[in-house]
Structure formats: C-alpha cells, structure tokens
C-alpha cells in the first residue's frame, strides 16, 4: 500500500497559520489565546500523531483485510476519488455524532473539546485514544464497498486538513452559498459552544449538508456570546488529565454503579446517570428552553 499521508505535508502550514492567528490575537483580542492552553493543545496533537503511528499498522491491516471481501471493484477513476471523499465525510458525520452521544466514543473525542478557547491550536487538540475507542469502525464500510484503503486514507487526510482552518474566531461569516454547503468557522463555533441552544449540533466535517439533512444543524445567532469547552470545564492544563479524565470517569462510574446500570455508563450519552444526579445535553437544553418559554410568557403578561 502506498505510504503517503497528506497531513504530513500540511503540518508546516498549520504552524504558520497558528502563528499568524496569534499575531491577529495580539493586535485585536489577546484573550483568544493562552500560552498554557496552547501548549496543552499542541502536546495533544503531537501525542495523537505518535499514537497514530503506533496503531497505524493495525488499522491498515484491518482495512486491507476487509477490502478482500469488497462488494464492488471501484478502481481508481477520478469519480471514485470524489465519491470516496463524499462518503468518507458522511462516515465522519456519523462517527462524530456518535462521539458526542455515546460516552465510550466521547471519552476519546472529549480531548478535542476540552479547551475553553477556540482557535487554530484547538484544531490540533486531537485524541490519543481513538484506537481504543474503535473510532475507525465508522470508516471500515468504505473498504467493504470497494474503495481501496489507500484512497480512504488519502480522503480521510484531506478531510482532516480541511477541518483545520475553520477553528477560528478571526473569520466571521463566509459567502452565503459557501455557508449553505460547506462547514465554516461560524458553523463549527456552534459545535464547540457550550451554550444550551448549541449543544450537540453541527457534527459535519467538510459538508454541513449532513447536519441539514439529519436535523442536527443550528446556525450561529448574532449577538449571543459563545462560550467554548465542555459542560464541566476541566479547570486544569494537566496534559495527562486532559487525555484520560473521561476514561477515568467511566471506570469510576462503572465501579460504583449498581450491576444493572454498569454498562449504561459506557454506552449512554455523556452526563447520563442512573440517579439523575448529572445533566445530559438534552436535559440542559430542555431546562434552557423552559426558561425561555417562561421568560416570554412573563414578558407577555
């Protein structure tokens, strides 16, 4: 299998763009960056690359093995690349949606969300434990359909590179046609927000159309300040805590839970508890909506 990873070639560009955005922050909004937060994000990114290198061989073997049982011989035509890219992005949408709705996947993905900042360094804040979380499962069907593993890997790399640039507050809105089809800084700010109206919205990787199709789209509302991070902010820049805190949380909850609830702490949504002592994103949104309704009713009286 060809050994070519487009992300390797993009890394110098990532670094340059982070430095440019830092210069922008210095001039316009120094609070958009924080040195320790940036250090944690970049260390998470580097660790993720190392973890990827360690488990990459196993992943390739799994894809190549499954490819032997492919349903179609799609080959290397130009349209196959385009189709693979679109289907890979669809697979990414479902992976990403599950990564927010199933705690096992969230334990790995939470790393990307645990910064209270939203800047280009946040984009590099990637997981170390994706392999343990079996996140690759969502892309495996592409090999079974008949897309060559090298093509899937290339498309996945381009997808990842695309997702870098929109982790910024330096860009407001893009042209309307672009906002309608593509994922943009505005759409993805919503995704990283902890504002109740935005929780679990805009899962798209490249094409925002998936969220519009599957009912998970929310537009960025002008005038409402976005707060980033996770519902229970880490309050720590400790790198290992950032990597493993949710895994430790799962282990603790499973250990303490009554037998019949143990597995639910693994596969239910983040925040779920058998005694209702914590909030899920649905509970937070419902409470917020109730307050909006009450507020509107009082204003009308």
């Amino acid at each position: 299998m060809p050994d070519f990873n487009p992300v390797d070639y993009a890394v110098p560009g990532f670094i340059l763009l982070v430095l440019l955005e830092m210069a922008w922050a210095w001039k316009r909004a120094p609070e958009k960056y924080e040195s320790r937060d940036t250090l944690t994000s970049l260390a998470l990114g580097t660790g993720s690359t190392i973890a990827g290198a360690l488990t990459g061989g196993l992943l390739i073997a799994a894809f190549v093995w499954l490819y032997k049982f492919r349903l179609l011989d799609i080959g290397w035509q130009w349209w196959a690349w385009a189709l693979c890219f679109v289907l890979d992005d669809l697979a990414y949408y479902w992976f990403h949606r599950m990564a927010h709705r199933v705690r096992w996947f969230w334990a790995s993905h939470v790393n990307h969300h645990s910064s209270q900042h939203y800047n280009l360094s946040t984009a590099l804040r990637q997981t170390w434990t994706g392999f343990i979380a079996v996140s690759f499962l969502f892309r495996l069907p592409l090999a079974l359909i008949g897309f060559h593993p090298a093509m899937i890997a290339f498309c996945g790399g381009i997808n990842l590179i695309y997702q870098f640039w929109f982790h910024t507050e330096a860009i407001d809105k893009c042209p309307r046609w672009f906002e309608a089809v593509m994922n943009t800084p505005s759409h993805h700010r919503v995704h990283h927000a902890t504002n109740p109206r935005y929780l679990d919205r805009n899962y798209a990787g490249v094409f925002i159309v998936w969220d519009r199709m599957f009912g998970t789209f929310a537009p960025e509302v002008d005038g409402e300040r976005i707060r980033y991070g996770i519902v229970k902010q880490l309050g720590s820049f400790n790198l290992l805590w950032a990597v493993f805190h949710e895994w430790i949380g799962i282990a603790t909850d499973v250990w303490r839970a009554p037998w019949r609830h143990k597995l639910s702490y693994v596969w239910r949504e983040p925040g779920w508890t058998h005694d209702g002592s914590r909030d899920t994103s649905d509970m937070i949104r419902a409470r917020w909506l109730e307050r909006q309704t009450d507020g509107a009713r009082l204003a009308g009286e």
Partner: protein, 136 residues
C-alpha cells in the same frame, strides 16, 4: 524510523516556538471578574438555571462564591484566560484566615483557591459549614 523521529523532533520544536511566542506576546491577558453581574452570568452559564441570590467576589477578581435559591453553592475561579466552576458539596477543605477563605473542591486537578472576601469571609465560612447538611 529516522524520518519519524525527525518529524517528532520538528513537532516538538514547533510546539516550543509557538509556546514561547504566546508567552512573549503575553496572550491571554490578566482576566478578572469585574462585577457581581459578570459572576452571575458565568454561574448561569456553568450550570444552566443557577440563579445566584448571594454573591461574594474576591477583591482582586480572581474568583467568587455564589449561592442560589436552592442553597447550592458554586465556586468560580480563574483558569487561564477564562473561569471554571464547581458546585461545592461539602466544607471539609475550607479554611478561614481572617479575610481569606481557602476553598477546596475535593478534586485534585481542579485544586483549591484562596479568595479575599473581606468581612464577608467569615459569614461565608460559617454558611459553608452547613453545606453538607443542605445536600444530605
């Protein structure tokens, strides 16, 4: 293998460079709580529906204690260029030293914070002693 190690060395050098640039440019600034209203807003965002009826701001603005109608107490403290919060469920880690109240959360990573609450420190220290019984 050599190529991989070179890539790793390059990444580490880039991380160091970016970190040093962020330090040099003093990015992040010196974030402080400016008013009770700001503390209330942050608390409501941290726990949707937390309607603070009682607020004690640290004199330097590095944190705050807030109580809502249900008797829940929230600790807000500075975390980098933002604030992070925890609902307190006990007073075991609380220590009073004149105007300074040190509050722990029981979470090692979140740590404890010492707030300068002025004359209010004693009142809050006293009320925090009842915290365990409120939630019991």
């Amino acid at each position: 293998m050599t190529t991989e190690l070179l890539k790793l060395a390059g990444s580490l050098a880039a991380i160091l460079l970016i970190f040093l640039v962020a330090l040099k440019l003093r990015l992040g600034g010196d974030i402080r709580l400016r008013s009770e209203a700001e503390a209330r807003e942050l608390a409501d965002h941290a726990v949707c529906g937390f309607d603070a009826v009682d607020v004690a701001l640290d004199r330097a603005g590095i944190g705050a204690l807030l109580r809502d109608r249900q008797g829940r107490v929230m600790l807000l403290r500075r975390h980098g260029a933002h604030f992070a919060s925890r609902l307190l469920d006990g007073h075991a880690d609380t220590r009073l030293d004149h105007n300074f109240l040190t509050i722990g959360t029981g979470e090692r990573r979140f740590g404890s914070v010492t707030l300068d609450l002025g004359a209010e420190a004693q009142v809050w220290a006293s009320s925090l002693r009842h915290l365990g019984s409120v939630h019991a």
